[in-house]
Symmetry: C2
Subunit: 370 residues, 2 copies
């Protein structure tokens, strides 16, 4: 049997200078983290751009060390010989402006935890409002920096898929294809309400102090509650029922095993992120709407030029497929195009876009090669 | 045109003495609130028992005053000439032990806000753990008090439907029929997780003080966050999208109209309930499982003797119908019986069991008369 050596990768960062945001404010010094898998062609025309999900980062594939337990989040479809074949394509996985992660080697992408050059202290709650199109604008600075003027495709799960849609809208000449997994074309009222409740959870923690908490004393409980809400919504009810069900626990963490598990997961994951960055990212998501200037969502979708592969999750409770996938299909159809679609299984809920992405191997490969 | 006079009702309370709870503790003085619509027959054999939902109370039908804006929560199907016809049946709407409401004329049913005779102060966080079967046991004391020894049916929405199922299990000779709308036969892991998060929200509020808050300074923000989570899950995404959608707000309450609406609703409704009672009720719901003593849910359902009418909500996101209704149908089928079912429309989510109950008028009438 043949066995490929593990794909080893490093986290890189680019200093990209100032960025004028859509809110009217300017970020004077934008830094983006990214990872690259595969070789850039001499003409720099073989780039597949990957964008990440809400609580993600640029570590989409491979490992930082050969003995690392888990690879990046789309490793099942990114690598030599895989669906997004790094022997052919140069995959650039680029962080989103506002990236919530603060755990090394992440944490340098510009976000509310970054130092404000005007004050020498972190922006904190004074970080300017950002949105998905600002994320694309920052990533465009990175591509300019790298001398990349065209893309093979833009792809990503969840917020990453939203960025892919925004890329196709903002730079139609650069983006012939996009792959949007478990992705929204805009956030609907139900999820705006949910995200608002997550904001409230963080702000309710007295340690939050209106966002002016010291780095060593973050609002850990409030952030864990917000994270718990995200985990509970993004996970799969079938998987939770099977794995924990109504198993009693009886410890101080609660009567039920699912309570203890949720508490532990929420505390663990919330330690990886910054509370002000989390709030800024919630707000950026709440602002996300592919439609602009009074157009309907259908009109905005009908204007897209890129070929589209959609990978909705059948059990997605965070962005229910009937409510988020169906409008995408209808809007593209209004523009005279049929989106290719492969529905991912429901077991893991929204996280099917990560946990089950390997099932889309053939669909992604064929879509990129067509 | 004929026009019936409005059904006028009054809230009543019965002092029922001690109740031994399933946890082993004893409540020395149980009080239950109730309302009665229609006349008790001389044989006291024409009673339809109504049980209420999580944040509900006994005010199921009619008005306290003729000029009151809104009638009780199932007024569409309870009254003279209506599906549960008070010219024929005596409808007893009985509160659940632990009822969370504290707004007059509610608030006297025994709950953590009640005075503990041993201390002369409210039980607060020291209220003993209760469950759905304790609610039934307390209601049985009320029926004994009123001299009622048999029932025509037990009916209710959500937690009220769970009580109806528990009634049929605990007193098969008294309950020939049950009507369970938007009701769980047990709480599944996903909802146990959600309810845990609501508990966390209340406990995160520094005003909660481990449950020892003074009556004049309750944990209003934490309770509002928990209430907001309940509202967001119980409401209908279609209705929310239609009514508020992505409408901007821009006030201090948030960028989006849905944020301002949710905040206002959550604060308004949380003022009607007690925080410790809310937590006790969350825990009682988390404990709810029709199966007991190691039996499967299917076995528990197969043992029920009552005829069953199920009214699931097609758009229910709090208790998704595929996850909660399907096991009910299958368990009853395992016992050789077919549940009558009418699915309520999805627009209002879980609240279809209240907002759309009028659509079940014919089904309820026929079920009771058969």
């Amino acid at each position: 049997m043949l066995s490929s050596p593990p794909l080893l990768t490093t986290k890189q960062h680019a200093e990209l200078g100032p960025l004028a945001l859509r809110c009217g404010q300017v970020l004077p010094e934008v830094v983006l983290g990214y990872e690259a898998y595969g070789e850039l062609s001499p003409a720099r025309d073989n780039v597949v751009l990957l964008c990440h999900f809400f609580s993600g980062n640029a570590h989409a594939a491979g490992r930082y060390r050969a003995d690392e337990a888990l690879p990046g989040w789309w490793d099942a479809v990114v690598g030599p010989g895989k669906a997004i074949d790094t022997r052919r394509w140069c995959v650039l996985s680029v962080e989103a402006l506002g990236c919530v992660r603060v755990d090394a080697p992440h944490g340098r992408t510009t976000n509310p935890n970054s130092l404000n050059p005007a004050t020498g202290r972190p922006y904190g709650p004074d970080f300017p409002p950002i949105d998905v199109r600002d994320m694309v604008a920052a990533q465009k600075l990175l591509l300019d920096h790298l001398g990349v003027r065209s893309l093979v495709a833009v792809a990503g799960p969840s917020l990453g898929g939203a960025q892919a849609l925004a890329w196709a809208q903002m730079h139609p000449d650069m983006v012939p294809k996009l792959i949007a997994a478990i992705a929204p074309a805009r956030l609907e009222a139900q999820e705006i309400a949910l995200y608002r409740l997550m904001k409230e959870a963080i702000r309710l923690d007295p340690a939050y102090q209106g966002g002016h908490y010291p780095p060593e004393a973050p609002p850990r409980q409030g952030l864990a509650l917000a994270m718990g809400m995200m985990i509970a919504h993004a996970g799969g009810r079938a998987e939770l029922a099977h794995r924990l069900g109504r198993r009693p626990h009886g410890g101080p963490e609660g009567e039920w095993a699912v309570e203890a598990w949720l508490q532990e997961e929420a505390l663990r994951r919330s330690a990886l992120v910054d509370a002000n960055a989390w709030i800024a990212m919630l707000e950026a998501n709440m602002r996300w709407d592919l439609a602009q200037g009074g157009q309907s969502l259908e009109e905005a979708l009908a204007e897209l030029q890129a070929k589209v592969l959609l990978l909705p999750g059948l059990g997605d409770a965070l962005l229910p497929w009937a409510d988020y996938h169906q409008p995408l299909v209808q809007g593209l159809a209004a523009g005279g195009r049929e989106a290719e679609t492969l529905a991912l299984p429901g077991t893991f809920g929204h996280l099917a876009g990560l946990a089950h992405i390997g099932l889309a191997e053939g669909a992604i490969r064929a879509f990129l090669e067509a």
